[in-house]
Amino acid sequence: MKLTKSNASDEIAMDMTPMIDVTFQLIIFFMLLMDMSQKDLETLVLPKALSAEEDKPNPLDPRPVINITADGRILVKREVYFDPEHDDGYKKLKEYLLMRARAMPKAPVEPGSTIIAPDKPILVRADQSTPFKHIQKVMEICGIQDIKIWKIELAAGQEKPDKDAEEGGN
C-alpha cells in the first residue's frame, strides 16, 4: 500500500522548469530578431530577380539598410532621413552614412591597391517603381571622400527559375 502512494507523488513532482526556461529563451530570441528585422525593412514592393542570392544578415554585425519609397522618401530604421517635400540637402543621410562608414572595417579596394575604403556593403531597398535617380543620389553620397562606401547590395525578391523556359530574357 505504501509503495503505491509514493509512486503517485513521484508523477506529480515532474519538473517542468527546464522546458519553460528553454521556451522563454526561444520566445525572447524570436522577439528580438523579429523586432530588428522589422525596424530595418520597410514594407516595399521589390522587383524580382532570378540571380538574387539569399540575404542572410548577421544580427551581431548589422549593416546599413537604406529604404527608398516610390515617392523618393529615404528611411532608415523607420525614421525618415530624407523627404523630397522638405529637402535638407540630404544632410541627415550624409551624417548617418559617415557615422556608419567610420565604424566599418577598412581594406584595400583591390589586392595590392593603395586605396583604402570600408570593406562592408550597404543594402539599398527600393520600391520597384522608385525613380532610379533617388538610388543614384544615395550612391553619390556613398562616394563622398569621407564616406567611400563602394560595395552596394540591391534588394530584390527571389524568383524561382521557370523550368519550362529554356532561354532567359523578357
Partner: protein
C-alpha cells in the same frame, strides 16, 4: 500538530497547474516562428560603385568595360502593384504596365528587346569573361528597370558590375 500543518502546505504548493501558461507560451512561440519566416524571403544583387570617382584622387587602371545604357522611351500605364492589372488608384505604390518601353544600348547595338541585348552581352562575355560591366541608367528609369538588366548580367556570369550616375538627373526635382 505543527509538523502536520507544514506537510499540508508543501503538498498544496506542488499542485500549481502550469498547463495554461505552457499553452500560452507555445502559442507565442508558434506565432513568432511563423511570422519571422516572411521577413527572410528577400534576396540581394551585389554591385559596386566606381572606385576611382569620389573614393580616391589617384587614377584607376583603365579597363575594358561593357557599358549598358537604359533609356525610357515610353513610361507606360501605372497599375496597382498586385497582379490584378487594375489601374493605379493614385495613392501608394504602383508598377508599370507591359506597355512600358525601355531602350537598351551596348556600344552601337541598341534595342527595345531585352533578349537581343542579353545575346550581345553573352557574346562579349565569351570574348572576355573577366571583364566588367557598367550600367548607365538615364533619367526616367526606375528601380525595376535596373534590377532586370542587373539580374541578366549576373546570370550571364559577370561578377564585376558597377553603376554610372548621370548627375544631371540627380538634381532634377519634380
Amino acid at each position: 500538530m505543527a509538523i502536520g500543518v507544514s506537510r499540508l502546505q508543501e503538498s498544496t504548493e506542488m499542485k500549481g497547474d502550469m498547463t495554461p501558461m505552457i499553452d500560452v507560451v507555445f502559442q507565442l512561440l508558434i506565432f513568432f516562428m511563423l511570422t519571422i519566416k516572411f521577413k527572410l524571403l528577400e534576396g540581394k544583387l551585389s554591385a559596386y560603385l566606381p572606385k576611382d570617382v569620389g573614393v580616391n584622387q589617384t587614377q584607376a587602371e583603365p579597363k575594358e568595360k561593357v557599358e549598358i545604357k537604359l533609356k525610357v522611351e515610353r513610361e507606360g500605364t501605372k497599375l496597382m502593384p498586385d497582379d490584378s492589372g487594375a489601374p493605379w488608384s493614385g495613392e501608394g505604390a504602383y508598377k508599370y504596365g507591359p506597355d512600358r518601353v525601355v531602350r537598351y544600348s551596348v556600344g552601337p547595338k541598341s534595342s527595345n528587346e531585352m533578349r537581343e541585348i542579353v545575346a550581345r552581352v553573352k557574346e562579349l562575355f565569351k570574348i572576355d569573361p573577366k571583364g566588367s560591366v557598367t550600367i548607365d541608367p538615364l533619367p526616367g528609369t526606375c528601380y525595376s528597370d535596373v534590377v532586370k538588366i542587373l539580374d541578366e548580367v549576373i546570370l550571364i556570369g559577370y561578377t564585376d558590375v558597377s553603376f554610372i550616375g548621370d548627375k544631371s538627373a540627380l538634381y532634377d526635382k519634380k
